[in-house]
Assembly symmetry: C2
Homo-oligomer: 552 residues x 2
């Protein structure tokens, strides 16, 4: 069968570039700022990144750049979870390379970092790459979660790079992958090679951002897809007037997605993990607050509503965090004996006996299904797989129990019927919005320019994103500038600091100033499906988060 009509139409779309990048390729000059410092732990990081620490910020503008046309051999990998626009980073990089010198070569390493380690790659051609322009997914070369960590792995990557005669490697990934890119850049330098490494900021979770990286790519499209669905469900709830919908959204560490979707759809309830942690809210307190909104709405005859729940919530609830840590430890140390226990009751009894009193009490208060999930489903590191825990169902069950008590006490007179949803995979591979298509193509093109100008250890950066693309500014940010030292597996490691939701930031404050109204009134907003054509205000708007952050 044929490809879809939209896919065919999107292949023809020409992504917009920042004005400085859209002219002749040898008329884009680089300029530099002052030397930079890391956000913290400057002394340690200066030592760990002796060769690449403290470089200046790079910016691209109009100007002569006669050497941009040298022949280059570049490798690229997609690392970590899918995000809309990954394909366009590669097409932007490819187009930049070929525009500067048609003999330059781009290799795509397969299945993420392991492709670099094992030297599995394809060489891109026009015909191959043209089938992926402006499409979603990472299927062009696949992705993977392998980390380049051991000495042997670093050496293998160097060997691959030498064998392929690479001038540079581009790593498209999140905070972890870009930390890895910084380490690889430093490693290549210490090994006496001049192979460059450039990172590109990807993650739908939106937690890789700072003063210079205004947003990571994919966040825009994913949030718009989830908001489409939440809006549709909100309209259904307000038509049928008989169900509460508890909708869990991606975002394990940060609640940027839940917050953006709340701003887009104006639900009755949206929980932000960072606030839960900051205010040290217990599970009982969260349940009480939700039950209170349900009761208030019921008193006005509205036995329906929408509640947004971030995927990672449970780890931000202090008592649950402790319980999960104890369980991880306990099950790791008693794996064999635990595996010999056949029934849920035996398992639960064993676990309860080994937990601290407080955690045993918390564990005992949870519904059976959740206790079973907490005891099962470890990841390869022996940890609970948080995304598999049905937090939305846990809350439905506990809110239902609380409302039963309130009904008995006369403080709730309505009905509470709730349905659970989880949106994650629905948005990670959508066709990138015009914003993400333009942004990622520009990031890829900028990655080429950073390489062509001999830079390494930089993150591709495109800024001024809340304005239209003709006002965007391209450049590069030294990766070390975004780093600090953090505890990882019992040791201090250099890492890019994750950007969590700031409770004093404009997006959260805007949400907080409206949420009491949204809770009780029905103020649902219906964003509808992502539009790629039509009026600019319909198809070219960035996220509300980005607009509010830039206004602030």
């Amino acid at each position: 069968m044929e490809i879809s009509a939209l896919q065919k139409a999107r292949l023809e779309y020409s992504p917009k570039l920042p004005p400085a990048l859209s002219g002749a390729i040898d008329a884009i000059a680089v300029s530099f700022g002052d030397p930079t410092e890391s956000i913290a732990n400057q002394a340690e990081l200066k030592q760990l990144f002796a060769k690449t620490y403290g470089k200046p910020i790079a910016a691209f503008g109009k100007g002569a750049n006669p050497n941009v046309g040298k022949e280059l051999r570049v490798g690229v990998i997609l690392s970590g979870g899918q995000a809309p626009g990954g394909h366009n980073v590669i097409t932007g990089l490819y187009d930049g390379l070929k525009k500067a010198n048609p003999n330059s070569v781009l290799f795509g390493f397969l299945g993420g970092p392991s492709g670099l380690i094992d030297d599995e790659a394809v060489e891109f051609t026009d015909e191959f790459i043209d089938r992926y322009r402006n499409t979603g997914g990472f299927d062009i070369i696949g992705s993977g979660r392998t980390k380049i960590e051991t000495d042997a792995q670093f050496a293998a990557v160097l060997e691959t790079a030498k064998k392929r005669k690479l001038n540079a490697v581009v790593v498209i990934g999140g905070d972890d992958s870009n930390t890895n890119a910084a380490l690889l850049a430093e490693y290549f330098q210490t090994q006496g090679t001049d192979i460059q490494v450039i990172g590109v900021p990807k993650t739908i979770d939106g937690d890789l951002k700072n003063e210079y990286i205004e947003t990571s790519f994919g966040f825009d499209t994913a949030c718009k897809t989830y908001s489409e669905l939440i809006g549709n469900i909100g309209r259904d709830a307000n038509s049928a007037k008989k169900y509460w919908h508890f909708i869990k959204l991606m975002g394990r560490s940060a609640s940027h997605i839940a917050l953006e979707c709340a701003l887009q759809t104006q639900p009755n309830i949206a929980i932000i993990s960072e606030e839960v942690e900051s205010k040290k809210k217990s599970l009982a307190q969260i349940v009480e607050e939700i039950a209170d909104v349900v009761a208030k709405r019921a008193a006005k005859g509205n036995n329906f509503g929408i509640a947004l729940i971030p995927e990672g919530l449970i780890e931000f609830v202090p008592e649950m965090k402790i319980l999960i840590a104890e369980l991880n430890d306990l099950l790791a140390h008693n794996a064999e004996y635990f595996a010999s226990l056949r029934t849920f009751d035996d398992q639960a009894e064993f676990v309860s006996g080994k937990l601290t009193d407080h955690s045993a009490k918390v564990f005992g208060s949870l519904p059976r299904g959740i206790r079973a999930q907490l005891m099962a489903d470890r990841d390869p590191h022996g940890n609970v797989q948080v995304s598999l825990i049905d937090t939305e169902k846990l809350l439905i069950e506990m809110v239902g129990e609380r409302l039963d008590q309130m009904k008995a006490a006369g403080s709730f007179k309505g009905s509470f019927k709730a349905l659970a949803h989880f949106f994650g995979y629905e948005g990670r591979c959508a066709f990138p919005s015009n914003f993400d298509a333009d942004y990622t193509y520009s990031l890829g093109f900028t990655a080429f320019l950073l390489i062509a100008n001999g830079l390494t250890g930089y993150l591709s950066s495109v800024r001024n994103l809340s304005k239209s693309a003709d006002q965007w500014v391209a450049g590069g940010i030294p990766l070390t500038m975004m780093m600090n030292m953090e505890q990882r597996h019992g040791a201090m490691k250099p890492v890019i600091r994750k950007a969590l939701v700031e409770l004093d930031g404009a997006p959260f404050k805007t949400f907080a100033s409206h949420r009491d109204t949204w809770a009780v009134e029905t103020s649902f907003r219906f964003p509808g499906a992502i539009q790629y054509y039509g009026p600019g205000e319909v198809c070219d708007q960035p996220t509300i988060t980005l607009v509010l952050e830039q206004q602030a």
Copy 2:
């Protein structure tokens, strides 16, 4: 906060009308065919519908119609589940009425049929109705599932109609609601009034169609929304290459949605309930077939895939149908004793002891969670709520078990990790596609014309829908023409026959001719989000089902 940009833009959209309807209102003439017969049970139906049986098909074309401008008072209800386009039926009806005579009045009865019974209504004004043009949802007046069944209810509706001085009532609903409309039309006649009743064919399930009703409204938009999500998930599966996604889709009686989504997205597996029933497939056989596809893909290194499951599947599996019927009966007759049983084990033991041997064996073979669901969650009629049974999880669990056996026997060497999804509420209230926006507006406008021409007991009909709107044809089909007698609650009742997937129809045959390839190859198709603007082939295409049916 403001309404969304898309909502604002959609309010300005002008739905397309069939050419015969787009000129001056007094230049649309009606013409009639020969008297009609019902599809079966002609004698009984002629007796039951003595006043309204056998009317001719009506068609609208260009011609003088000087009496169309008489002042009218019309009531409208939305009945049953939400479907995209409901609001546009009302705006089309309103615009027709007001165009013919600005003094005509349209009442919207609130909350479905109960609004007619209890006389709860709003009178539409321009300002009110303009806020709902081309939007999704039924929130303009709400919907409901009350049936007008008892003598008292019929009398109450008549009283409402007389009090409001209504000339006509328009019922927007599915097969059940339109059966109700036919009965109401007959009732008004037998009571000596000339109050007319006109139906409009709504249901996202797509099972209200026949030679004259090419499709029910909402099916197009809902299928496109689900296909967007399935395509995104398929792209994710093909990027990550590690998960099977089992996706349950709406459609309790008919699998039209699963079939259309399969044609749109080309998944590895799509189960069609009608085929399961026709071939009398057992659950074990379905599981075996799925496991076989998983194993074949694994042999090629592809431990991922997409499987579509219709919501109603379980009732089409012969042994499950019998089990469910026995359970419904058993629990209805032992409700009190059963309620006294506190534990799952006690309940399961009681049930197993009362079932026939065969059903007890089937029951015992099901996973614990499914047995619990089968024993809980009755609807108000005491029946299992099929939509709440996690058929997709049942299949994942049973396929997993079967693959474990195959692995032990050496016939499966891959890995099977599966995730479950259920899409229903995500699509029922989407902004109607251009197709549904145009179709529903035309249906509403046609309903006005049927009223203005003095007809009753008709279903509004717009045909030639696989062509562009400038070739559409409007008319009316006598409701009795689509009826037959069927068993309902132990008695023979006149009903509109549900349109199931025809196994010798073009849509199923097209699917069947490709499915073996789609099973083993990765042929995923990515429809993307519904587009309302842009090239015609992107934003104005009808469903593949409709196109194939019309070609045939």
